[in-house]
């Protein structure tokens, strides 16, 4: 929980200068409190990078091993939806950045609006993700007992050319598409989990912003949440090309 510094506590100390009410008394100065909070947040994001790192490493390994399976499997992903989602997420991040600005210039109304917009676009991202997941469910592309490889062994015939849209895979290699789909669900699922946690925090921040907590000189929670939200954006910016785009049409 990176929002430690967001705890209310009346200042009961005997220093000379006036502190904001959110000043925690074990910090010597407000500056120190703010720096510690954002430093802690950056460190937390570092642990997040390592957390996703394990999955990226697995992706790298299996992509090299089962390249032939990864190409048709990756072609199953819906690029228009993925691209739309990228735009949606960047927009959400943009509003978050505006929210940080609004908190800094102490505009309560604007801050609340921007946070709500951030939330709406974040939720929209998850909505699109749901549509994509549903499509995989219908095609039996969810790894596990009901996973079906038929589409990779007998690719559907393309109506225009009269030939299969993909090169058919042998059964053995077609099995490996399951690894791709697991990594797809593992990585986008972890990402979605971070989005859901973020949306929960956003609702909490909106409620507090509405009370005017962040527009009287105390912006640390908004700033730190902004860092988290942008981190989640950045993870997606790596996931999208790796899963959807790379080598969709490999050179023959």
């Amino acid at each position: 929980m990176p929002h430690e510094s967001a705890i209310h506590e009346p200042a009961h100390h005997e220093h000379e200068h006036v502190f904001i009410p959110q000043h925690r008394h074990h910090f010597e100065t407000e500056e120190q409190q703010r720096e510690a909070g954002s430093f802690g947040m950056w460190l937390f994001l570092l642990t997040e990078i390592m957390f996703f790192g394990g999955l990226f490493f697995a992706y790298l390994l299996y992509r090299n091993w089962y390249y032939d399976a990864f190409v048709p499997a990756s072609n199953q992903l819906n690029v228009p939806l993925g691209a739309a989602n990228t735009a949606i997420l960047i927009t959400s991040g943009f509003f978050m950045a505006l929210g940080v600005w609004a908190a800094e210039v102490r505009k309560k109304g604007l801050l609340v609006i921007f946070l709500i917009l951030t939330t709406i676009f974040g939720a929209a991202f998850l909505g699109v993700k749901y549509v994509e997941y549903k499509e995989k469910w219908e095609k039996h592309h969810i790894p596990g007992a009901s996973f079906s490889i038929s589409e990779f062994v007998n690719p559907p015939i393309d109506a225009k050319t009269g030939k299969p849209g993909q090169k058919p895979l042998n059964v053995d290699m077609a099995q490996k598409t399951q690894i791709f789909f697991f990594l797809y669900f593992g990585m986008t699922g972890m990402h979605a989990l971070h989005m859901i946690i973020g949306l929960g925090l956003l609702i909490w921040l909106i409620a507090r912003a509405q009370r005017g907590d962040f527009t009287s000189g105390y912006v640390a929670p908004i700033e730190n949440f902004g860092l988290y939200w942008h981190f989640v954006d950045i993870v997606w910016l790596f996931l999208f090309p790796l899963l959807y785009l790379i080598n969709r049409h490999p050179l023959q």
Binding site: S5, G40, L46, G53, Q175, K176, F182
Partner: protein
């Protein structure tokens, strides 16, 4: 102090001395005041109680293992029960005792004080870390009560994902939760060291205890998330059969090994580095000398942390990794020996021409130095490719890591607990009884684990509950040693509890040590310092301390 003094212990006049009425223990009352506290010292105490509890549970399993191995026949328990015993022993000792042992207790208590600040940067996160630890502990206990788990503490796939029908998921998730507890502790330490040092406290005035915790924290923050994702993958593999580690679906079990040891090798440095920090403090105090080569010791901690991330595949030499990568990892493994040796040599030079006295913490510290050196050197044996292939998965490995973890870390933990006990509680433990405990521990330890080196060299494999009769003599020795060791560990619990009420009043600085923590009252105030100190001298500056004492008055608060 004359060179022939037998003790530096300097207690106030017991007839008049009292423990200060106002301190962090008496500041608030009631169970809730402990369970909802933000005070790093109280959280350290919560941790101390809980890790001691788990230490004795883990120890009980060790006792059962040794009891079974008393005879060559499998007579005490069935083989799968035995598997559950050593799994519970490993899981509890590694994740619930060794990883949080020194950092979460002594480190939590002292790092803010040593840095001259009032608390860690994030007190609530610190408390959260203890709750996560408790939840993880409860989950491990639950999996134990519900029937146990028998994967070994390494959760090796595909054994853990396909072949066992025990509580792997509960235990795996418990370790996941415990991991976050460890991440939050490390994160808190790093931010505190970077942002909360008092005026004048430069990086190279920090006690070496803080340096070693800083290095260990880097490992906690960077390594633990990888373990977290790995265990999530194991759980997903068990629940949904997703195939990422399953060779029948194209997955690679070796990938699990890579990911697991990427954390679990650095984890051994998470365990040992804070212990090295304790030893630096203790050796300096009881030699009345500044730690020799302060900068080298400080940087060697960071070097261990750094190299620690590049040696993990030495756990995998016989698992079919390529010969070339095995060669490289073997070489890199040798490199870790260098900073470890730097520390040992520097402590030895600190002792040289020092006014050495042999109080209990120092006895434990000597135990550490000897046993850790043996543990470290046998690690070099195991790091060499050819030797490793002969010795791996035998009792040689078991003896090696117990020398480092128990002979090293546990000795350091006990050294630290005794050294700072007067600071934490305001009272001294009984000196002669504690010296006895230190000696009993040392003897018991050697009797338990030296025979295991020979057993391993002769080829007795680990993790079996039966063995050929010719190994019995050495196994009996080992079991006898374990009994002595058990006594050595029970003694402190008894006399430390006794000392809480009846121990002599310790005063501010019973050891005449130089650290900031010794310049404030024992036990400290909730806010540690009445005014924030200004550090105007180097660490371990005994001349400064003498000057302070001569000119009267305490330095701080």
């Amino acid at each position: 102090m004359s060179a022939t003094a037998t003790t530096i212990l300097n207690l106030p006049d017991q007839a008049t001395a009292t423990v200060p009425k106002k301190n962090y223990i008496t500041a608030e009352h009631g169970l809730l005041s402990w369970l909802l506290t933000g005070d790093h010292k109280r959280i350290a105490m919560l941790y101390l109680v809980s890790i001691t509890f788990f230490f004795f549970i883990g120890g009980a399993f060790a006792g059962l293992i040794r009891l079974e191995l008393l005879t060559p026949q499998p007579d005490l328990v069935a083989s799968d029960t035995y598997n559950k015993f050593f799994t519970m022993h490993g899981v509890i000792m590694v994740f619930l005792f060794l990883v949080p042992s020194v950092p979460a207790t002594i480190g939590n208590f002292l790092i803010p004080i040593m840095l001259g600040t009032r608390d860690l940067a994030f007190p609530k996160i610190n408390l959260l870390s203890w709750y996560l630890y408790t939840i993880a502990g409860a989950m491990v206990i639950a999996s134990m009560v519900l029937g146990g788990v028998d994967t070994g503490w390494t959760f090796t796939t595909p054994l853990s994902t396909h072949y066992l029908n025990t509580h792997v998921i509960t235990t795996g998730l418990a370790i996941f939760v415990a991991g976050f507890s460890s991440i939050f502790t490390g994160l808190n330490f790093i931010v505190t060291v970077h942002r909360m040092r008092c005026p004048g406290m430069t990086w190279f005035r920090m006690p070496l205890f803080v340096w070693s915790h800083y290095a260990a924290s880097i490992l906690m923050v960077l390594g633990t998330p990888v373990l977290a994702i790995t265990l999530i993958l194991v759980v997903l593999e068990r629940v949904f059969g997703i195939g990422v580690f399953d060779p029948t679906k194209g997955g690679d079990p070796l990938l699990f090994q890579h990911l697991f040891w990427f954390y679990s090798h650095p984890a051994v440095y998470i365990m040992i580095l804070p212990g090295m920090g304790v030893i630096s403090e203790v050796v300096s105090t009881f030699s009345r000398k500044r730690v020799f080569g302060y900068t080298a010791v400080a940087f060697s901690s960071v070097a261990i942390a750094l190299f620690g991330f590049f040696v993990w595949a030495h756990h995998m030499f016989i698992m079919g990794i390529s010969n070339y990568s095995a060669l490289v990892f073997s070489l890199l493994t040798m490199l870790v020996a260098v900073p470890s040796a730097i520390k040992i040599f520097n402590w030895a030079f600190t002792l040289q021409k020092g006014s050495i006295t042999f109080e209990t913490p120092m006895l434990y510290a000597f135990g550490f130095m000897g046993l850790f050196t043996i543990g470290g050197l046998t690690g070099v044996f195991l790091g060499s490719l050819g030797m490793d292939i002969h010795l791996t998965e035998t009792y040689f490995i078991v003896a090696h890591f117990h020398f480092v973890m128990v002979g090293g870390m546990l000795m350091a933990f006990l050294a630290g607990v005794h050294f700072w006990w007067p600071k934490m509680t305001g009272r001294m433990y009984p000196e002669s009884l504690s010296k006895l405990a230190a000696v009993v521990t040392f003897i018991g330890f050697n009797l338990t684990f030296l025979p295991q080196f020979i057993l391993g060299y002769l080829g007795m494999p680990r993790r079996y509950h039966a063995y050929p009769p010719e190994y019995q003599v050495l196994n009996v020795l080992s079991t006898a040693g374990a009994t002595v060791l058990g006594v050595g560990y029970l003694l402190p619990i008894i006399y430390l509890a006794w000392s809480l009420k009846y121990g002599p009043v310790a005063g501010n600085n019973p050891w005449q040590a130089t650290g900031l923590e010794w310049q404030i009252q024992s036990p400290p105030l909730t806010e540690n310092f009445t005014t924030i100190p200004i550090m105007d001298h180097e660490a371990y500056d005994y001349e400064w301390l003498e000057h302070q004492n001569q000119h009267g008055g305490t330095y701080i608060g």
